[in-house]
């Protein structure tokens, strides 16, 4: 008796998404609770999955009870289960947060919004959980379409940003599909495990090489790896704040997950390391991403845009970890999937809350904010410290493993990039923190103004998710050793 949780965690959000329309048509207010219920159930299912994986090992779930190369199979190993829990939890947190912000930003579209929101989450979960190349494509498209729509309803520039995203996303998806096609032509199979068995004989085949190249480019587009990131800043800047908070942590991470999956469990690691120098190229691209993202972020005056560029840089960290192609590097990359999800979640939630309360997002307008929204800004500071990599926040530990990996691989340039980038992040974030916390002298002469500015903290439904995310940042920092020893060390492919 196989556990049903792997399929339930995808199907529950799907079914609830379908239910949202009728229920929302009946009573508009029902959408929010429906979403919460769906995502909590999904989260529980993913926890159950993770638990099962840890206790009994990899789960194979045959959909429709057809055995693998013929039917579609869900394969949940440690890596999957880990990412699943992240995705479902982050989306649950964002869903809790969404209530007020959606009511303010999109009062007319609540029903459709929650419907697409659930579809988006289901798509992301479906990408992660599947063990079939084509099924991955289908869910990739669900997630992408939902993403385009969610981004397009943002503020002024959103439709155009979303259109650009659509173009690049479609190119990415098409390339992925082409890759699947090329692999199918040369092997005749779509199942990942099956491909893993068949492919080694074909590593010299040009078809397979080209397929691999297209996978890389396609996934790179989806995860916004450096030269292919062009769509990202605009899209995440203009999207509604809830959407940015959902997509920024998850979309790129899921892309990164797909990359790891294809590189190391569809193809053999030695293929990407020795036969063709993919990892080296990936490493250099990632290094470029890290620096470019940080430098571009420096040039921004808009807080949300700055975060978007930081996201580019953070994606670089994950890719760098993959590119190092050793145990420590990959551990760092997988750990960074978790950490970065929470960091980006916290940052984008905070920006959303700030915009909700004050409508401001230029860095120079943030003055007095620490008095108006003390908890929100405290969360921002902690998340910022984590991005910089100050212990004991979680960002430090992924950086630790990445540097460890880089030293292990004797890639001194990467070490330098990692170190320099954290300094750049210091400049980035302390610029914001200075604006938010430190005020010019003359305005508070005599210290009497302490109580003059009243606290206007974000509403509780927004504050609680922010605090959860922040707590996550701290807790995962301290627990990183535990997480690695229980999950991540099994998620790294055996041969490292």
């Amino acid at each position: 008796m196989t556990p049903q949780s792997p399929v339930l965690l995808v199907v529950i959000p799907l079914i609830f998404a379908f239910l949202t329309l009728p229920f929302g048509w009946w009573r508009k207010g029902l959408c929010y609770p429906i979403t919460l219920v769906a995502l909590s159930l999904s989260f529980l299912a993913s926890l159950h999955t993770l638990h099962t994986v840890i206790t009994t090992g990899t789960i194979h779930y045959w959909l429709g009870n057809w055995e693998p190369p013929w039917g579609i199979e869900y394969v949940v190993d440690h890596l999957n289960a880990f990412v699943l829990v992240i995705v479902s939890f982050v989306s649950l947190v964002v869903a809790i947060y969404s209530k007020r912000s959606v009511e303010q930003e999109l009062p007319e579209k609540i029903v459709f919004f929650y419907c697409v929101f659930l579809l988006q989450v289901a798509g992301l979960l479906g990408i992660v959980v599947t063990g079939d190349m084509f099924n991955l494509y289908v869910f990739l498209e669900i997630a992408s379409l939902a993403g385009y729509a969610l981004i397009a309803i943002g503020e002024d520039g959103a439709p155009f940003a979303s259109f650009n995203y659509l173009i690049f996303g479609t190119i990415g998806a098409c390339f992925y599909l082409l890759g699947v096609g090329y692999l199918y032509v040369s092997t005749g199979s779509l199942n990942m495990a099956d491909l893993f068995q068949i492919l080694p004989d074909l590593y010299q085949s040009k078809v397979v090489l080209v397929a691999f190249a297209f996978f890389m480019v396609g996934v790179g587009l989806k995860m916004a790896l450096f030269p292919l990131h062009v769509w990202l800043p605009d899209a995440y800047t203009y999207a509604p704040s809830t959407v940015s908070a959902l997509l920024a942590p998850l979309m790129t991470k899921v892309g990164a997950y797909v990359m790891i999956r294809i590189m190391f469990t569809v193809f053999k690691p030695q293929f990407c390391i020795e036969l063709i120098p993919v990892t080296t190229i990936l490493g250099w691209m990632a290094a470029g991403a890290i620096l470019f993202g940080a430098v571009m972020a420096l040039a921004q005056t808009d807080l949300k845009r700055m975060l978007a560029y930081i996201l580019v840089s953070e994606v670089g960290y994950i890719a760098l970890g993959v590119g190092l192609a050793n145990r420590a590097g990959l551990t760092g990359a997988i750990l960074h999937i978790l950490n970065d999800s929470f960091m980006m979640l916290a940052l984008f939630l905070v920006v959303g809350a700030i915009m909700y309360r004050s409508g401001k997002r230029e860095i120079s307008q943030l003055r007095y904010l620490h008095r108006r929204m003390p908890f929100t800004m405290a969360a921002f500071v902690i998340a910022a410290l984590s991005v910089i990599g100050i212990p004991p926040t979680c960002g430090f530990f992924s950086k630790w493993y990445l540097i460890l990996g880089a030293i292990d691989a004797s890639q001194w340039a990467f070490v330098a990039v990692l170190l320099v980038s954290s300094l750049l992040n210091v400049i980035l974030f302390f610029r914001v923190i200075e604006h938010a916390y430190l005020e010019p002298d003359e305005e508070h002469a005599g210290g009497g103004s302490e109580l003059a500015i009243t606290i206007e903290e974000a509403p509780l439904s927004m504050l609680v998710p922010i605090l959860i995310a922040t707590a996550g940042i701290m807790v995962f920092g301290v627990l990183s050793g535990k997480i690695i020893s229980t999950v991540i060390q099994f998620a790294v492919p055996k041969c490292f």
């Binding site: 410290l385 910089i388 100050i390 212990p391 004991p392 430090f396 530990f397 950086k399 630790w400 493993y401 540097i403 460890l404 030293i407 292990d408 070490v415 170190l419 954290s422 300094l423 210091v426 302390f430 200075e434 916390y437 430190l438 005020e439 010019p440 002298d441 508070h444 005599g446 210290g447 103004s449 302490e450 109580l451 301290v478 627990l479 990183s480 050793g481 535990k482 690695i484 020893s485």
Partner: protein, 497 residues
């Protein structure tokens, strides 16, 4: 060496953290309660730290592992003699500082007091973590927390200068942090462990060039906070901070943490034997000696009192590093003990500077003429502190300098003895005029001839610290067993050779 599992070090760190949270949640509305938390926590902490002294003096080590961070490295506290020495010093001085801060902040009616106290508590928590850290990673974690939590204190005044000072501080220390991080990870890849061991654990690992490189990086990294000479630039700039912060920076937490880090590196990571083998000790000692001389000269040139004190601090810290670099029992004992004695003396001096500022809003030395008559207690304490720093018996500075001098002789390096003497002369040269002018010189403009001390909350701590430094000079083991701790630590380090 006996190891005891004990939660006390964790408690010592946590108690301030909880205090910090209590301070935040109490907030601006209930000032008295908030200040009560500060003092309560500082006293509690001191009690906890002192309660560990008997165990450690018996040669046992208190250990507490919180959680495994990565293979072979845990978030771990281990209290040995050296760590406890620093812990006792910091927690003792914190009581004084917190009382003094309350007086100072209220006296000036500062803004954002909650933030101030919160960061202060956080800072001390981190310092305690540094003191009790059982391995390099734990040390580094708390080191970074210290950096970050000190930043708001440095930039507290929020003027252009303060913000610039804060930026500079942050830039220096975080770059240093990055350098240290790199070195630590490198060491981890070499050895797979980061636990401190008296006498070092790097012996026989890695090539000598790599090790030299690592040593340079680490000393460079920790040297920034210890304000060794080419990296000292941030320290005088950070003087824009409120005086208790300066006191904290210079006497208790930050720079001491830097020196503590340096000493940990020298004595517990690399170890005397390795340093001898690589001939690094001599280079480091010369390097420190250079700092001693140059910073003394700088100090002479300053007119701002706090800046002069800052350079004096740099001077003394360099002496500590120099002592440790000599690697003889006397020198190590002396330099460890000097950490403590310098702490008490220098905090007195800063308290005095703050008291003067609160009372008269004067910062420059040239304006202090005749102040001794107005504030005799304050200036008396200043005199004790200054003389102590110069090494006059029977103040505690004498004992440490004596042992340092002995150490120089043991190492057969007369040149460092000379450096010590020159620095003592310089100390006299830059402190004596202040004392003289304040007591004996007739001021140009009329000043209040009556007794007019700063608030009691400020005067009491500074008098107490002055008295303690006096008592320590006579009974080095009074109250805290400082001397015992220092000498046993030295013995153990060299015993591990």
């Amino acid at each position: 060496m006996e190891t005891i599992e004990s939660i006390r070090p964790l408690l010592a760190v946590l108690v301030t953290l909880i205090g910090a949270l209590l301070i935040v949640f109490t907030g601006e509305r209930h000032r008295n309660l908030r200040e009560f938390w500060t003092i309560l926590v500082s006293v509690l902490k001191f009690v906890i730290v002192i309660s560990m002294v008997p165990f450690v003096l018996e040669g046992r080590v208190l250990e507490y592992t919180i959680i495994t961070l990565t293979q072979g490295v845990s978030l771990q506290f281990r209290v040995d003699q050296f760590g406890l020495f620093f812990g006792v010093l910091a927690s003792a001085l914190w009581i004084a500082t917190s009382i003094y801060s309350i007086g100072y902040v209220r006296g000036l009616n500062e803004h954002a007091q909650t933030r101030y106290f919160f960061n202060f508590a956080l800072c001390l928590s981190a310092t305690m973590g540094i003191a009790f850290a059982g391995n390099l990673l734990t040390l580094f974690i708390f080191y970074e927390i210290l950096t970050v939590s000190t930043y708001p204190l440095v930039a507290h005044k929020e003027t252009e200068d303060a913000i610039m000072g804060g930026r500079k501080y942050l830039a220096y220390t975080l770059i240093a942090g990055v350098v240290i991080l790199f070195a630590i990870i490198f060491i981890y890849t070499l050895t797979g462990t980061l636990d401190f061991k008296p006498g070092g654990f790097l012996l026989g690992r890695g090539q000598s060039t790599t090790l030299i490189f690592l040593f340079a990086l680490l000393i460079l990294g920790f040297g920034v906070k210890a304000a060794l000479m080419p990296m000292h630039e941030w320290l005088p700039t950070a003087m824009v901070a409120p005086t208790p912060v300066s006191a904290l920076l210079h006497a208790v937490a930050v720079v001491k943490a830097g020196v503590f880090g340096c000493l940990r590196i020298i004595l517990y990571v690399f170890g005397p034997e390795l340093l001898h083998n690589l001939d690094l000790w001599l280079i480091l000692a010369y390097f420190a000696a250079f700092t001693v001389i140059v910073s003394g000269m700088y100090a002479l040139a300053q007119d701002n009192l706090k800046r002069r004190l800052a350079f004096s601090t740099i001077n003394n810290l360099a002496i500590i590093v120099m002592g440790a670099a000599l690697l003889t029992p006397g020198a190590i004992t002396g330099s460890i003990f000097h950490m403590g004695s310098h702490g008490f003396m220098k905090i007195t001096l800063f308290f005095v500077a703050g008291a003067i500022y609160v009372k008269t809003h004067k910062e420059n030395i040239s304006e202090l003429d005749g102040l001794g008559r107005q504030m005799p207690l304050t200036m008396g304490a200043f005199t004790i502190g200054a003389m102590g720093v110069a090494g006059t018996p029977p103040i505690c500075g004498f004992i440490s300098k004596w042992y340092l001098a002995m150490g120089c002789l043991e190492a057969k390096q007369v040149i460092f003895l000379l450096v010590l003497l020159i620095s003592a002369l310089m100390d006299v040269a830059y402190f004596f005029p202040i004392i003289y002018n304040s007591f004996f010189k007739i001021p140009k403009e009329a000043i209040n001839p009556h007794l007019d001390e700063a608030p009691a909350m400020m005067v009491v701590p500074l008098v107490i610290t002055a008295v303690i430094s006096l008592i320590l000079g006579i009974f080095p083991n009074a109250f805290f067993h400082f001397f015992n701790l220092a000498s046993t630590a030295a013995a153990k380090i060299l015993g591990g050779m």
